[in-house]
Amino acid sequence: MKATFPHLGNVYIAVKALFDGLGIDYVIPPQNSDHALNIGTKYSPEEICLPFKIMIGNYIQAIEQGADTVILTGSCGPCRFGEYCELQMNLMKSLGYNLNFIVLDMPKDIGIKELFNRLVSIGSTSTKSKFEKLKAAKLAIHVMHLIDETEALSHYLAGYERNKGECKRLLQECKTEAMKCSNPAEMLSLIKEYKKRIEYVSVDINKNPLKIALIGEIYTVIEPYSNFYIEDKLMDYGVSTKRGMTPSWWLKNMALSPVKINSLNIKKASREYLSLEIGGHARECIGEAILSYKEGFDGAIQIFPLGCMPEIVSKSILPSISRDFEFPIMSLVVDDMTGEAGYITRLEAFIDLLERRRDNVLYGS
């Protein structure tokens, strides 16, 4: 077995830790790029949402490097993501690829036993002992949390740093160096070290940077290629950002959902505007918009792929929140366009708007 998986933000770092720990052969698809998107667009159904297309690009590029098994998370939820695995299996088969899919669905959909069987089938090619396997899994989860925390920290501190670009540089360096590690323990201590270095970045606490929350559809807020590297751009502008959606949040949310104690704060915050689970992460989007207002953020940016059902619903709710709380929210819709000028204009204009509101500037530079 040579395993691969679709990209989603920093997941590849944790997956490397996991497979290195298990001693399983794997291929990390090349980072998302126009090339991956071109491949995906060529073979995917035309009307499908953007994440599907990029993922198909990932698979085919990974197959070129010898991958034969795709590990994918599933959801039998009411959004299109629930059909991704079936569609992708059929698509890859009709393209003539002999690919094995291991889909990690929620226990409530496939049963805990089946999930366990599927997890075992991933681990079966590992020669490690059961104890070592569990240890590897634990380490990988730790890595996931740590890299998400490190990233969140640098996104937040970017608004306060004295030496412009330091947080961004350290974060980038951390990811590059992590991928050079040969075992998960080494990776863990390396990320810890970088986290500490970012904590000690020289900051000006008297600065009062703009704070923007990123909300919306999970794939497009997390995966930087799909959102024009919006977080990097905001770091360049000296804006502090927060994003509630992370792979580690997703893991925790999944683990707690069977007993219904997942993301209680979000559920509570969104209750007045959207009290039901309508699929995708619409409720999280609404909840996070309200939470970020209460936490003193200046505004929020919603990102979602064209045609995303749950986010279309939240997009039509957000203006009410915006009006009720006087909290600016901008929606960005992404698809397979790669011209950035339009997005940069919107981003700049939004930052301008927030600055002017705050300073009561009539106009001017």
Binding site: Q31, S320, E348, L353, N360, V361, S365
Partner: protein, 323 residues
Amino acid sequence: MYYMGVDVGSVSTDIALIDKNYKLIEKIYLRTKGNPIKAVQEGFKILKSKYYDSEITAAGTTGSGRMVASAIIGADVAKNEITAHATAALEIDKDVKTIIEIGGQDSKIIIINNGIVTDFAMNTVCAAGTGSFLDRQAERLDIPIEEFGDYAAKAVSTVRIAGRCAVFAESDMIHKQQLGYAQAEIIRGLCDALVRNYINNIGKGKTILPKVLFQGGVAANKGMKTAFENELGFEIFVPENYDMMGAIGAAIIASEKVIKTGKTRFRGFKLADNNIFSRSFDCEGCPNKCEVVKIYENNNIIGYFGDRCTKWSSKTGEITKLA
């Protein structure tokens, strides 16, 4: 002593010169024709014979081509269109509450409260309902774009046209035209459809309060103005220099910037005669494979754009810096 604003849009490139009282002295309206660099040079050729470099004490750029234009002319500021349009609108009328701006690729709504931009929205993903679509329909019907609005005004009744997507609208128009509906009525139907789409999409959740200014190239279209008034139920105003508002705003912002910096970075009109061209290449430095654009002036590189890591654009340092 003049301030210059350059608005490099998708369809037109506008250059405005204003005096120190922000009064418009000179306006140049050119078609961008897919080549922003050449359009700016064309404009400068006209200006060169009338003005000295030293008369320009501030220069600003705006529009989707603002970064490239800024690098070429040595602008003091490159500002987004929202701010530029709002600045210019507030300069002519302090009481404006809503700005409807429809350009070649973008349509926007800007909400102003007590002279401060408090909210805005832009078309999200495609250019349906914007100027380039009207342009294309005018071309298809073989009507000069300048007269397009007059046709709509002639119509006594309207035909329903689908408005959410330019491609849908075009098919709808063709199907209705083949059924024999009058051209004027179809054009009016198109204007109604665009306005309906604007209110429902861009204006969603926003309260459009008078006084409303309608600016951008599409404001020339009387049919659109009437359609907006019918939909909103009150009069909307098209400022005299509706097609220059972005450029005027950029000039005003630049003048304020120069007060802070003390000196303009304007490089002069001579660039009209220089050989400015661009080359792009795929950077192989990392898996991102950014498409990097190099701008040359007489074989000297004056700017890089398009790289994520700033490995290239940092070489040009200040000129690529966002305002």
